[in-house]
Every structure is written in structure tokens, then in C-alpha cells.
Symmetry: C2
Subunit: 308 residues, 2 copies
């Protein structure tokens, strides 16, 4: 199975604590590294956790609260100083472009590599990036500023055909393509081979959904339904549900409820308030409502596999 994993660089919320950096994650999908959010200190966290930052070509920023993007400028400067030449693609709210441009201007810098900025504006699930084997989407979430979540989805790359059938029936390349897309096959004697008899079972397609910062909101369910792994913020315990709502955040119970209703296979909660030194109580609360939950920790790597 191709690699598909998430490494947590920071799972704290607005203010960093001794054990939690602000939000940032590295998604490895089919050996392509991508970054979600980039809180202050993310480049140091990558060094600490042996992430090769020069393998990242795409960075997705969910919203412009400082704890989700203040590490970006330092990382962009580091790429420049290390002589990067490959394109870097940033997907983010439009205003981040102004922040980057102003910071380049005041330091009298021109980046040595192309920085391609893709503003996120859509109010529905929207394709941001696609290649042969996966897609990345944004979807809107409800927070105190414009904010988006992201979904990383493997693509159906066609069914694998039984080798014995190919040796025996010698289908043409065009026929092979049709079978891979699900067609039946009829040979020169008029014998019909049903598709399900000549293809191997497709891998289960995996996906990763990142909720970003959000109030409890069932409107996101259609965007993340059946995901293999859902990262949902759980800034507070449910005894602080009022505070959570007022600050457009979610409780551990609410995160678990969303995972349950969205039929996620596994849930990882994070974005913990600095008031919780330990994440055990948050984890216990979430597991009451969605047993297959784990709690984020800085440096944690989660493999996304079909047995999740």
C-alpha cells in the first residue's frame, strides 16, 4: 500500500504551551509531503521530528489566526536561504498574500524560487489540487474569521486485472482500459466475462480530513463523510461548551459526535487549550461518544490504513 500518514507538528491552540506548539501538520500522501497550517516554530518542529522540509511543495493555510500561520514567513525565508529553486504553492485566504508581500518588502528580499499563491474563496467543497493518484479539497467551516478545512483523498486509479485472464484472452490496450474502468469483456467467441470475475478487489480508497478551527457544525458532515481519519479540533472539555461556542470552537464530546455522524473510521482530536496540561480527560470524553479516537501530541505520526 502506498504511504499515507499525518505527522502532528503542533496540536496546541492560540497560545503555545511547554509541550504543544501551535497548529501545523505534515501529510505524506504517496510520498508527497504537504503541510497543513504553519504555526510559529513549525520549521524547528520539522527539524525535531526529522521531516525533510525541502520535500514540501504545497502548503495549505486554513485561516489567518496567528497560531495557524505565523511560522510560514520564517519557513519561506529558510527555503530562500537554502537556495530552493522549485515552485512552492500556497493555498490560503487571499489576505495572506498581502502579509507575505509586505514582509518580503520590509526585509528587502526577493525569493529565489517561484511562490505560487492560490487564494481560497469558495463556500462549498472545492478541488484545490489533483494529480494521478490523489486530490485535495477545501471546504468552508464556521469560525470567527473566514476559515476552511481540507480533505486529502486517494483517487480510484482503475481496477487491477487478473493476470491469468490477460495471458489467456489477450485483450487489447483499449479493452484493458475499459475493464479497468469497470466494463465487462466479450471475447471473439462471444463469451462474456463479467468485470467482477476478471478484476482484483480495488484497494479501499483512503482519505484524511482536517476540520481546522470550527464551532460544532453538522454542515461539514457532507464534506468529510466516510473519511478514513478525521482530525477535529477539541479545544475544550464539554463542561466549557458555552465558552467553546462563544469562541467558535468545539468540545471533545462535540468532535466525537461529528466523527460519529460523519461515519469517520477514526478520529484524532487536537487544538487543545493550554489550560489542559494533559489530554487524557479530553480523550476519555471523546471516546464515550466515538471509541476509535486518539489524541494528538506534537511529533505523533498516524498511519492511515484501511484497518483504521
Amino acid at each position: 500500500m502506498k504511504p499515507f500518514s499525518v505527522t502532528i507538528l503542533g496540536c496546541g491552540s492560540a497560545t503555545p504551551s511547554k509541550t504543544r506548539n501551535p497548529s501545523a501538520q505534515i501529510v505524506n500522501i504517496h510520498d508527497r509531503l504537504m503541510m497543513i497550517d504553519c504555526g510559529e516554530g513549525s520549521q524547528m518542529q520539522m527539524r525535531r521530528f526529522y521531516i525533510k522540509n525541502n520535500r514540501i511543495n504545497h502548503i495549505f493555510i486554513s485561516h489567518l489566526h496567528g497560531d495557524h500561520y505565523l511560522g510560514l514567513m520564517g519557513l519561506l525565508f529558510t527555503y530562500h536561504l537554502f537556495g530552493r529553486t522549485e515552485e512552492m504553492h500556497i493555498y490560503a485566504p487571499q489576505e495572506l498574500k498581502d502579509v507575505i508581500d509586505l514582509q518580503l518588502k520590509v526585509s528587502n528580499s526577493q525569493l529565489l524560487y517561484p511562490l505560487i499563491f492560490h487564494p481560497i474563496t469558495s463556500n462549498t467543497k472545492t478541488l484545490l489540487l489533483e494529480n494521478n493518484t490523489f486530490k485535495v479539497f477545501s471546504f468552508p467551516v464556521q469560525h470567527s474569521v473566514n476559515c476552511w478545512g481540507f480533505v486529502f483523498e486517494e483517487k480510484n486509479c482503475g481496477y487491477k486485472i487478473n493476470k491469468e485472464f490477460i495471458t489467456q484472452e489477450k485483450p487489447t490496450i483499449e479493452e484493458i482500459q475499459s475493464i479497468k474502468q469497470g466494463a465487462d469483456f466479450i471475447n471473439s467467441q462471444g463469451v462474456v466475462f463479467e468485470n467482477s470475475d476478471i478484476v482484483l478487489p480495488a484497494d479501499l480508497l483512503r482519505s484524511y480530513a482536517y476540520s481546522s478551527d470550527t464551532i460544532y457544525d453538522e454542515n461539514i458532515i457532507p464534506f468529510i463523510e466516510n473519511t478514513s481519519l478525521l482530525y477535529h479540533e477539541a479545544t475544550f472539555m464539554h463542561d466549557k461548551a458555552d465558552v467553546a461556542k462563544q469562541k467558535f470552537h468545539t468540545t471533545a464530546k462535540e468532535a466525537a459526535t461529528i466523527a460519529y455522524k460523519a461515519k469517520a473510521k477514526k478520529l484524532i482530536i487536537g487544538h487543545f487549550s493550554a489550560r489542559y496540561d494533559d489530554n487524557l480527560a479530553l480523550l476519555a470524553e471523546a471516546r464515550e461518544y466515538f471509541p476509535n479516537t486518539i489524541a494528538a501530541e506534537d511529533g505523533l505520526k498516524v498511519e492511515i490504513n484501511v484497518e483504521l
Copy 2:
């Protein structure tokens, strides 16, 4: 003696390494904490080194290269989130105001505390801040962008008068003030008491000078002459003198030469290039030319005392 110390939060240069954060320091002068520069991750470093960041009311930013200011915005947000109400004074190049304002705007934030911005523009040694017991000055340095160093100087708070003399001669308050400023005293019988006979020896006044990022430049010597402790950048070893010059930086040998010519009592070198895992060679090179040199390390606290 009143406290006067410097704690190094980061002594790396443009790109952080595993052991060195970008530039930031805390000066404790007479129990007032002040910050010099604020590279990415400085607020985490303060937590690591048990610095109470809420005791800081004055931050001095030398120039607008990312490694000297990218941690500021996160720190300002943290103060906001923790409900700070005291004024925060920032002394920095004018353009930093635009960067702060834009980042507040895109996050839809209004700070809960007054942020007082003092632009640094002068091309000579200039008083930025003064209270009863110390002064802080900026001075211009030669770097690839507008850049300033800072000097923290204790003030002469007047001579201490021999208590026996006061009991015996009962000078008026006005006469005491005159004696503290160095005047002699004549009593009602016309007896002259020379100032040096009735006052105690003055404490030696201490100072701390921070060179910031600079090319080798003897023009800074008048601004830092006789300082108790000089922090001078030593980004490179002297075998890279050409690179240093080209990048408007200094070598360890050159830093030591400046300390020697400026008659500094002690030198601390820092702002080391990430190419040097270890600072021993840099330290050895500097000590050849100025023996009373130490090398900065993240977390190092240096007491500034008269025996330096």
C-alpha cells in the same frame, strides 16, 4: 548591587538550527525586563528558560530581517489572549508598524492593551528611553537593511553621603542635593569639607551594548566605548571574511577586534551561522584577539558586574 543581566533566547543566524533559535535576548536592568529582538519561537524560549514574559514592557527590534522579528506577532497575540492591560512599547524601524497593523487586520483582532510604537530613524546615538536609574540608546550599524544596535547604561544616581557627616553637620536638603552632585560643603563656622571626604565611592556604572547584525565597522566604537559587556555578532570564522563582508556580517576575529578597540570589559559573541554545529572554534578565534570573550548559547544568562 542592583540586578543587571542578559539572557540569550536565541543566538543563531538567519536559519534556526537544532540547538540555536534566531536572535532574541532579555535584559534585566534593575529588575525591569526588556527584550532585544524577537526571532521566531522566542515566546517558547521564554517558557523554556523561565522568563516571565508579562514583566516585559519594552521591546527593541534592531532590523526587519525575519530572524530578528518574526516571533513578535505571536508574542503580542499571547499578551492579548492572556488579558494584558499594561502598555507595551515597541522601538523598531517604522515599517514594522505596517506589518503589525496588517496582521491585526487579517486576523480581525484589536489588542486589549495599548501598543505604543516608537520608530527608530536616527543616524547617530540616540536616547530611546530613560528612567531614574538607566538609559537606553540606539545607534546605527551598517547592514544590508536599515539596522540599529542598542546600549543599556546605568545612570549616575548621585554620590552616597557619609552618614556620620550628616548626623554631625546636619546639611539642608538642598545642600545634600549639591553634595550628591559633587559640591563641597561649608558649615556655619566656615569650615570647608571637600566632597571626596564626605561621600562614599560611587559604584562603577555598568552598561550593555548589543551590536545587532553588522559588517566590520569601526564607526560603532564611539557608541559602545568602555562598555561593560559587548554582544557582537560573529556569524563566521575569519576564513570566511569575504562571505561575511559580502553579507554585511562579521567574523569572530573582527568581533574581537572591535571589542579590543572599543575597550569593552567583556565580549560575548553570537549570531552564529548554522554551518557551525559547535561554537568552540569561533570562541578560540575571538579569544586570540580579545581573551575575555564568551560564546552565546540559547538559555545562557550573563551577569553584568564590575568584575567582568
